[in-house]
């Protein structure tokens, strides 16, 4: 960012150097704020925490209302009293969410490192707040901003749409006219704001070269500095003529999970949003620990799933051990010269596997709870013996 600013001051396009890959709006933002950089990042973190707090507060109210409605409609099986969430448990969840985000060592690290990921997190947090409050316009604007920053929040379009549809009580049937009407409304809002922002950037810098520099960079992964993601090692080892194919495969991997998850989780769009955020931060081309901090902040919201999580202890140990070994092996590789990139990538792989298992564990627990809610806690087969729930 500093280099971009320097080039801008000189009158040259900031994208002519190969280092700067942020969007023009960010340059202009920092043009004014560069002296107070630390303060800016602290404020963005606080803003994110506040936005998450308000969002989860609202969400809890919605969940409780929905639960009450379903109980009255007798949709739940009779013996699931333990699984129902009570307001007393849910009272402290927003505070826990905000604290989880602020005190997470990952967010502290990314604040100290002054990574622009913090700004991404703020925009996504505001987007979630706007969606949960139900304002389609604001949510579309924030989503457009988030997509403009890094391409991947595009996948958050689906859960936001599902949530807003649910809020308007529009059933999701492919034949229903109101469904298509609302969808096109929301999509139009989103696309228009995106176009406005892109044109604004064009007018700020009078050139279109921010598009290949920002989006082309994210999509084609030319820079292979090691990070905690999965891309760099593959592409470092690969032959030239295969790299296009593998880039496509890796990028599709990120976007691909939206559709099956949308079909499965259409009743629970906020959980869908959480899983989608996690998938983005694991599979994106240049992940940072700030992204991880954002989706981990959501974990207290589903703390009632604790009893169904199967591997949570081992997974948390794996994540902590990997986080500690990251700097050790980095030091051994770069400074001591005695290890090599394989060690570092091994830890990266383990860390990402841990994250994936965490997300899938939560997914499984969530589905299991839903199943128990509708079918009762004691499952019996046809002949009356005890049955066990298995995820196929």
């Amino acid at each position: 960012v500093v280099e971009g600013l320097a080039l801008l001051d000189l009158g040259v396009s900031p994208y002519s150097g190969a280092i700067f890959h942020e969007t023009p709006l960010i340059i202009y933002l920092f043009h004014f704020l560069i002296e107070y950089a630390e303060l800016v990042f602290m404020i963005t973190d606080v803003l994110t925490a506040v936005a998450l707090y308000l969002a989860i507060q609202d969400f809890n109210k919605v969940v409780f209302k929905k639960q009450k409605l379903l109980i009255e409609l007798d949709k739940y099986a009779p013996d699931v009293a333990e699984l129902i969430q009570t307001p007393m448990e849910m009272h402290y969840i927003p505070l826990k969410v905000a604290l989880f985000y602020l005190l997470n060592p990952y967010s502290v690290m990314s604040c100290v490192a002054k990574s622009t990921c913090a700004i991404n997190n703020t925009i996504i947090a505001f987007f979630i707040l706007a969606t949960i409050k139900g304002s389609a316009f604001l949510s579309a604007v924030f989503l457009a901003l988030a997509t403009y920053q890094s391409l991947y929040p595009l996948t958050l379009f689906a859960p936001a749409l599902l949530y807003l549809l649910q809020r308007q009580f529009i059933p999701i049937k492919l034949k229903s006219k109101s469904f298509w009407l609302y969808t096109t409304q929301y999509a139009a809002l989103y696309l228009c704001s995106l176009v406005v922002i892109i044109c604004l950037s064009f007018f700020l810098l009078n050139s279109w070269d921010f598009i290949p520099s920002v989006y082309g960079f994210i999509l084609s992964v030319p820079d292979l500095t090691p990070n905690i993601g999965l891309f760099w090692y593959f592409f470092a080892e690969m032959f030239e003529h295969f790299s296009l194919f593998f880039v496509c495969v890796f990028q599709i991997n990120v976007f691909f999970y939206t559709i099956p998850l949308a079909i499965k989780l259409k009743e629970h769009p906020v959980f869908f949003m959480f899983v989608q955020l996690a998938i983005i931060s694991i599979f994106k081309s240049y992940p940072t620990v700030g992204d991880i901090a954002l989706y981990m902040a959501f974990l207290p919201v589903w703390s009632h799933l604790y009893r169904f999580l199967r591997n949570i202890f081992i997974l948390s140990c794996v994540l902590i051990v990997c986080s500690v070994l990251f700097p050790v092996l980095w030091h051994l590789w770069i400074y001591a010269g005695s290890a090599n990139s394989n060690f570092y990538y091994a830890i990266t792989l383990t860390f990402n596997i841990g994250q994936i298992l965490l997300v899938s564990d939560y997914f499984y627990a969530f589905l299991r709870r839903e199943y128990y809610l509708t079918h009762g806690l004691h499952l019996t087969r046809q002949d009356g013996t005890e049955a066990m729930l298995v995820l196929k």
């Binding site: 199967r310 500690v324 070994l325 051994l332 400074y335």
Partner: protein
């Protein structure tokens, strides 16, 4: 039972490593250094001794390093001479230096390779010590310089460095040469490999400053540090351990061994000669002794010679010492010079940095080595003990808290069972223990002025005594934390605390083992059995004694005694205690001066983990 077996297996594996037939012989991996087919013709042994006598005379006259004479001599030999004055502020004056600020000068001459671009360099460094030490080393270096000057086959520049104040001067030279500021100067500069620690030490005024632009000779490929204190030697001793237990590439050692054998020079490691009879018990004991000495030296993280600081910059370096003992056959300077000439000629042949051979190894003797693949399982078994304990605790004792996949209708509903000893109960002990570790790390050096005002002791003693005082005070903590906790500590809370302590210990030990295997292994050896066995019930006094024996400070004390035993100069209790205090002071000093991480690792890592276990022991 499984844990005991695993521990015994780990210990046995380690002891078996010393068995000579099991360890593979060393071999030269780097192709460019393959054969020793050079013909050394160094004739200037007598000239070396003459130089040495002149140097000694001038040193005595000047009282410190005779800078002007050295510069003039190097100039007359035809080298490019530079001098580097440096000053260093110590965090506290230790016994040998007795003052806060140390001033010195490094003098070095560069022999430019006649027909090559100056892109790479080799270094021959000789420390200038006070008194009649190391004079012959400087003399030999000067003689070698004059001989090398006449040869045409040099492809790399050679730097002949004479550094003052041993490691301080070396650190100043290396930092100025590489233009970095690794040891915490407040104004800018890169933070090097330990930015967190550099940030912490930045608060203390430990500045090194040197002046002027340095004459440089390109990237340094290898360095040899020479220490000779007598006109004739009976053997050459090699020291490999560097700062933080980093080791040079094994090829450099192989090079030294090959050339010693070629010239018929007797070479030793850890001061011990090799035995030719293998497969016998005395031979096994001998190689075990050598191995243990190396492990202890590496664990202390102290550089064994001036070469230790080169390793941080990825420059392979070893220290050669000439030993004059009571043997019959003595070698003169010419032989030593020939060996060095051969080594330098081989290093001259290198095309790339040494990377072929091992970086992590242990040496039971000079011709045998144990690589990391062989010695890691020993540590793995010790870690297995901890992991077995952790899983044991998780599965059996915390069973009602682990969610069951099968909903058992006989269990009472989960909200009626004893509430999860909320993690909130554990926060005070954990915070207090880590706070004590932080105090142990920060207070002794910062509080030394206050201590010297109130007590009639010197600063160095004040620092060391504060260290011991905080350490022992930490042991009284369980009583105060329990008063804070009140009745909130449930009967099963100790299990979760023990789980946390074991996890932290396992994490710390594995991170340490990757960076400095000996340190990780030694700490694991002592702390793991105590950690696994500790619990509030059972024979409390016995467990308390075991835990006190396992504490890092006692490990250090026992290590010192063991080292003296192995060096065949056993130390009595009083002397041992003095050495122990000295070691504590040195450890702190080295951390602040060179960025050694033994001190923070023990203070911020091992000590809080041990305190947590101590808390578990005294859980009411």
């Amino acid at each position: 039972p499984g844990s005991i077996l695993s521990y015994v297996l780990g210990l046995g594996w380690f002891l078996a490593l010393a068995f000579p037939p099991l360890a593979p012989r060393t071999y030269m991996s780097e192709n460019a250094m393959g054969s020793t087919m050079v013909e050394e013709r160094f004739p200037l042994g007598q000239r070396a001794l003459a130089f040495a006598r002149q140097f000694a005379a001038h040193k005595k006259k000047a009282g410190a390093m005779p800078v002007a004479w050295l510069e003039q001599t190097l100039w007359s030999l035809g080298l490019e001479v530079h001098r580097q004055p440096f000053t260093r502020t110590l965090p506290f004056p230790d016994e040998s230096r007795e003052r806060y600020m140390v001033k010195g000068t490094n003098v070095y001459g560069i022999l430019r390779a006649p027909r090559a671009a100056s892109t790479e360099a080799l270094v021959l460094s000789t420390p200038c010590s006070e008194g009649p030490h190391n004079d012959q080393a400087v003399g030999l270096a000067l003689a070698l310089a004059s001989y090398f000057r006449g040869q045409i086959y040099w492809a790399k520049d050679i730097i002949f460095l004479v550094n003052e104040h041993d490691l301080l001067g070396m650190e100043a030279w290396l930092e100025a040469y590489h233009d970095v500021n690794l040891t915490g100067e407040p104004g800018g500069g890169t933070a090097g490999s330990w930015p967190v620690l550099a940030g912490l030490t930045r608060a203390l005024p430990a500045e090194v400053s040197s002046s002027g632009t340095l004459g440089r000779a390109g990237a340094i490929q290898a360095a040899i540090s020479l220490e000779l204190s007598s006109d004739v030697v009976t053997s050459m001793d090699v020291a490999v351990e560097g700062l933080n237990g980093q080791l040079p590439n094994l090829d450099l050692l192989n090079l030294f061994h090959a050339f010693c054998q070629k010239n018929g020079l007797l070479c030793t490691i850890q001061g011990k000669l090799q035995r030719s009879d293998l497969d016998s018990l005395p031979a096994y004991a001998h190689s075990l002794q050598t191995l243990l000495l190396m492990v202890l030296a590496q664990a202390s993280g102290r550089p064994r010679g001036d070469h230790g600081l080169f390793l941080r910059y990825r420059i392979e370096a070893i220290t050669l010492r000439g030993i004059n003992s009571f043997r019959q056959y003595k070698y003169d300077m010419t032989t030593v010079g020939r060996t060095l000439e051969g080594m330098f000629r081989k290093l001259n042949n290198l095309l790339e940095r040494l990377h072929q051979s091992y970086f992590f190894y242990l040496l039971p003797s000079l011709s045998r080595f144990v690589s990391i693949g062989l010695y890691m399982p020993a540590f793995g078994f010790l870690l297995l003990v901890l992991i077995l304990r952790i899983s044991f605790l998780t599965l059996l004792h915390l069973h009602p808290l682990v969610p069951t996949t099968l909903w058992d209708p006989c269990d009472p509903p989960w909200y009626l069972q004893e509430p999860r000893p909320g993690l909130l109960v554990l926060v005070p002990p954990v915070l207090v223990c880590h706070g004590a570790g932080l105090a142990l790390y920060l207070l002794p050096v910062r509080g030394q002025h206050m201590a010297t005002q109130h007590f009639p002791v010197a600063e160095a003693e004040a620092v060391v005594l504060t260290l011991i005082a905080i350490y022992v005070a930490g042991m009284a903590l369980p009583h105060s934390t329990h008063r804070v906790l009140g009745a909130a500590g449930s009967a099963r809370g100790w299990m979760v605390l023990k789980l946390l302590a074991l996890l932290e210990l396992a994490l710390l030990l594995s991170a340490l083992a990757l960076l400095n295997f000996s340190l990780g292994f030694v700490l694991a050896l002592t702390m793991v059995p105590a950690a696994a066995a500790v619990q509030p019930h059972g024979p409390r006094v016995l467990l308390a004694v075991v835990l006190v024996l396992a504490t890092p400070a006692v490990t250090l004390l026992l290590g010192i005694f063991l080292e003296r035993e192995l060096l065949e100069t056993p130390a009595g209790p009083a002397e041992g205690w003095q050495l122990f205090l000295g070691a504590l002071g040195q450890g702190l000093l080295q951390h602040h001066l060179y960025g050694a991480f033994l001190c923070p690792a023990l203070a911020l890592g091992a000590y809080p983990a041990w305190l947590l276990l101590w808390n578990v022991l005294f859980w009411q």
